[in-house]
C-alpha cells in the first residue's frame, strides 16, 4: 500500500508548529505527469551504472509501499520532532 498521509510536527523552545497532515497521495498527480521524463532519467542512470532499470524500479516501489506505519519521534527537554507515515 502506498503512503497516503504524512504527519509532521516540530516543536522548539521558541516556536510551536501545529501537527501537519500532509496529503502525500496528491503527489501522484505531478509524478504521473513527469513520469516519462523520470523514466528516461532512471533508465539512463541505471544503464550507466550497469544496473537493471526494472529491478531498480521494483526495489524503489517496494520501499515506497512499505513506508506506511513508519513512526519517528525524537524529543528533548525543549523540543520535539514527530514524523508519521500513514
Amino acid at each position: 500500500m502506498t503512503p497516503n498521509i504524512a504527519v509532521l510536527q516540530i516543536e522548539g523552545p521558541h516556536f510551536h508548529m501545529p501537527r501537519l497532515w500532509l496529503p502525500i497521495f496528491l503527489l501522484w498527480i505531478p509524478l504521473i505527469l513527469l513520469s516519462p521524463f523520470l523514466f528516461l532519467v532512471i533508465f539512463g542512470l541505471c544503464l550507466a551504472g550497469r544496473v537493471s532499470p526494472w529491478r531498480a524500479i521494483a526495489v524503489f516501489w517496494a520501499i515506497v509501499c512499505s513506508l506506511p506505519g513508519t513512526h519517528v519521534r525524537v524529543s528533548t527537554q525543549n523540543s520535539q520532532v514527530l514524523v508519521r507515515i500513514l
Binding site: R55, V72, Q77
Partner: protein
Amino acid sequence: MNENRRQILEMLAAGKITADEAERLISALEPEPAATVGEFSGRIAGSNGGKEATVKTRAKYLRVLVEADETMTGIKGPTTVNVRVPMQLLRAGVRLASLIPAQAHQQLDEALSRHGVPLTLSQIKPENLEELIDHLEDLTVDVDSKEGNATKVRVFCE
C-alpha cells in the same frame, strides 16, 4: 507419572540406557513450553474441539527506543528517540544491495574489511537475508549503561 516416563525409568533401572540418555528421553516427552511473545496457543476454529495448535504471529514492526541523558548527547535534559519501522521496509531495503553493480562489490568488500566488517556482498543472497529478517523477529536487545549514565537502548520486534 505417565507410561512413557515409567518405561524410561525402568530401562534406566535395568541398565539398558544411561542417565544422560534417560534425561534426554524424558525431556523429549515434556510438553511444549507456554506460548511466548509472538506465539498464540489455542484452538483453531472448526478444529472439532480437539487439538490445540500453536500459531506464530509474525512481528510487523521493528522498534528502537533510545533514552539518553545530557552526558551522552550534550543536549540539556533527557533525549528520547522512538523509531518504529515496518518489517516490510527492512525486507525492501535489503534488496538495495542487489542494485550495487558487480564491479563495485569487490571495492566495497575491501572497504568494509578495512573498517573491520568482514562481509562479502556478492555472497549475500535474498533467501539468506529473508531468513535473517525472519530471525530478527525473535531479537530483543536491552542495553543499560553503567552507573552515572542513564542511557538505555531497546530494540525489539512487535
